[in-house]
Amino acid sequence: MSVVGERLQPTIFELSRPGRGGGKIPHPPKDALDRIPASARRATPAALPELSEPEVTRHYVNLSQLNYSVDTGFYPLGSCTMKYNPKINEWAARLPGFAGLHPMAPDAVAQGTLQLLHELEGMLAEISGMDAVTLQPAAGAHGELTGILMIRAYHRSRGDVDRDEVLVPDSSHGTNPATATMAGFRTITIPSASDGGVDIDAFKAALGPRTAAIMITNPSTLGLFERRIGELLEATHAAGALAYMDGANLNAILGHFRPGAAGFDVMHFNVHKTFSTPHGGGGPGAGPVGVRAHLVPFLPAPRVIREDDGSYRLERPGERPASIGRMRSFFGSTGVLVRAYAYIRAHGGSGLREVSDDAVLAANYLKVRLRDTYQVPFDRPCKHEFVASAADIKHRTGVRTLDIAKRLIDKGYHPPTIYFPLTVEEGMLIEPTETESLETLDAFADALIEIAHEADADPDLVKSAPHLAPVKRLDEATAARQPNLRWRGMTGAQMPCPD
């Protein structure tokens, strides 16, 4: 593992010593808090650590070096789209004009940001074939909730109040059924067909007067385009239901397929996947939602409006009464959206199509390189990702996909997505993205093939991996049975400090 630093670090609480640090803020007058009643004041100071700036720096630099990252190496995580995060985007988001703008500032002082957001909505609408876009949701799951709540509002506005079911394929991301529940719907899970796609006939059988929506990922979470999508969308609308597309896999179809034009009523984008905004160790992302015209009245408020004189303003309260309301405190995760805007402008339409072309090409190349060593269950071209199975290896050697994943760490790679979707036994979902060189793809394929050989020759080596990471396999059972979720006490330690 090419991690520069392998040193585990004590916590900031263990580094704390009274009197360290401080000096960043001028001291207030001694009587500054006298007018605050004692009953509202803290009885004891907050037990926060005291560190000097050099210690803070070393702590966070050393910790960072325990992380794998896109800037470090290849992350073939299926369904995550770990593409390169362009640095101009970081520069742009930090421009003081963007970073220093208060979310409740009057429209007149926010014209630059409002213009950017308005243009971004238009670009996303064009990319997706939708009529309008909201930029409010903070993540894909947040976008899903927004979209499903709009569908709910749509049906209710038409007096169609008995639709309480959402149909979801069993291969869907867990957020889909969880979203349906949050919006008050029952999830009906439809098993997939044997060719890896959704079972259109099973969907048709389940569609009916109680169906509010179907939620489909296209390409599917197995990386396969739904060839009968047109038929499914027709059947959905014929039953009076609406079609939601989970846009997590949009990187496969930019410039090739526009979901709104094809018949989807609403979809979300994951800008931290398709549009290169960084993953941040678990966010922030953003999950804008695109809709066809019939759902526009229900979009979250406020929208940004462009006036005839070219100026921009936010909608006033009550201006669009059918709106589902707010999904969050303010307009959106603007800093993230600035990055997505820069990315789309850098590429243009032709560039985005090339992104998908190269993403799909890379995935199919890897699939061909691996198909003799691992099983690739579906004998057709994939899109931007594919599933490989280690079921044969497991039956032959006892080595499981989990072990292979941990051994990949020793080879210097982040493992692919494992055991998702659950419909393939001992599955690895591999998504290279379009920003990886051929050398990287080949070296990764070589590493996976090498591990397969190791599984035959020395299975214990693989089963006990990783050997070269800063920590080995963890005791996750104790972590869950006896949760230790916060540091207790500023002096001493529950466990020996690594140093």
Partner: protein, 126 residues
Amino acid sequence: MVPGDLRYTKDHEWVRVDGDEAVVGITQYAADQLGDIVFVELPAVGRALGQHDAFGVVESVKAVSDLFAPVAGEVTGGNEALGGSPELVNSDPYGEGWMVRVRLADAGQVEALLDAAAYEQLVAEG
């Protein structure tokens, strides 16, 4: 080999009759499938269960599974030891890892469940 004196369900629960009560747990097969059990959510004493009602949840590190009542009746007790030691379900699923006691509403329901041989065949068929 599963204990011969118990009855089983297709959802991998077992039942042992003890007087007018049934003791219920999950089988070794189920525990193995789930992996290290970390938490068991049990129903309150006094709750009335219908047969096949979801009465609780078993959580492992990476999975979660509903528990379905193999027989109808009133809950008379839950295994409190599982609060501090959920791993008992893995290590001794038919003994210390028991989950609930239920006052049987209909003893005939137990007879209709799978016997050891039928359950083992079910597991073998996958």
